[in-house]
Symmetry: C2
Subunit: 205 residues, 2 copies
DNA sequence: CATTTCAGTGTACGCGTGTACACCAATGTG
DNA sequence: CACATTGGTGTACACGCGTACACTGAAATG
């Protein structure tokens, strides 16, 4: 009873992959056309409607996929938060590796935050806020464990995310060399934030 | 001998204003059509070509206008860098005021960095890098004057710009209330960076 | 086995687009 | 004053788009 549903899932996935395949640093999701995506997926234009209401609907599905991918990065980073010494260094490099593996996904998340429909932008904002909240929690816990508390965990986490994701967005259109140079600078900047946050917490006592 | 050239300049400006007028948080520059802009400017579509090669050409002109506006903000901020006590607070609020006055310009600069043609993105990157360089210079000078030097002025400036512009980009689609809340958080984050940078410089001795 | 469901097709439509071409009328030039 | 320059117009074209409609054939259902 599932040959039918399986096949449907498959072509749905084909549409998603087709859209992703058409994205690159020159081409934003907003510039893709329904016909174009259907063509790339080997479908007649009309068949698109069997799977999504319109391009916006597809877009939200893509953000969802990207969100899952982002959560994977985070989970890995959280593991390292416990074990490693040079947390920041390892985390940033982990993120950069991940980005290099799925550039289109992160193109959407990091570089198309500001464009598109209201719901598109809200969906992206939600994914990123989720990331920030989790990080804030980790920072707080970690700060107490090491007895070097930080000031205002959410604000600190937000700064870290802004720096990291902003940088990662730029990394998308860079050579491997410039990329690792950028990664090094990001680590420095994150260290500044952590240092500053700790110092602010000290001053508050 | 200038009735002709004057008029031409005027309609060119009309085209620029028309494009700017069509931009808002839902509508990105990339989604504007040549005909649409010409229509808004009260021109026949063909007349567009008397002033710009194509939409990309217009886009670069717009980035140029935005860059000039950005440089104005910076000049004001630099004045305050010398006179005021709470530099960061005043600077961030100055930027936010400016943004509220010309939202379309900053929409392009802050939210459409990641989309569009190669030359479009390079033009935007150049404007922002200019800003970062000037800030780095100021930070270095200021740090020496106050005998509280900072570490790696360019890296510090880059972090400040990333935080500030990232935040400002988000501010564009916020209510006035959320906006000032955000501004307050940004000031905190910038203080973290400054504090951290100073501490890094101390540690290096 | 007869019937219903439904993913996918082909045709067709009106629309907005970029831009080529021929033209006009006012300004600038010798 | 005669002529050249040029900002702007109107017409026309082919194109890609979203999507409505009628359809088909295979899988699912009873």
């Amino acid at each position: 009873m599932s040959t039918r549903t399986d096949k449907k899932q498959q072509t749905r996935q084909n549409l998603i992959d087709a859209a992703l395949g058409l994205l690159n640093q020159q081409r934003s999701f907003g510039s893709l056309s329904l016909r174009e995506v259907a063509r790339e997926a080997g479908l007649a234009p009309n068949a698109f409607y069997r799977h999504f209401d319109d391009m916006e609907d597809l877009g939200l599905a893509l953000v969802d996929v990207a969100g899952q991918s982002l959560r994977t990065v985070m989970r890995e980073a959280r593991q390292k938060l416990v074990t490693s010494q040079s947390v920041l260094d390892v985390s940033v490099n982990a993120l950069f590796d991940h980005i290099a593996r799925e550039p289109q996904l992160f193109h959407m998340l990091l570089r198309e935050q500001g464009t598109g429909s209201e719901s598109w932008r809200r969906a992206i904002r939600t994914e990123i806020r989720y990331f920030t909240n989790e990080l804030a929690e980790d920072l707080e816990r970690l700060g107490q464990a090491k007895e070097r508390p930080i000031a205002d965990a959410y604000t600190t986490a937000d700064a870290i995310v802004a720096i990291t994701f902003g940088g990662a967005g730029n990394a998308l259109s860079m050579s491997a060399d410039s990329r690792s140079e950028l990664a090094a600078r990001l680590v420095l900047q994150l260290r500044m934030i952590m240092l500053g946050s700790e110092r602010m917490a000290e001053a508050r006592d």
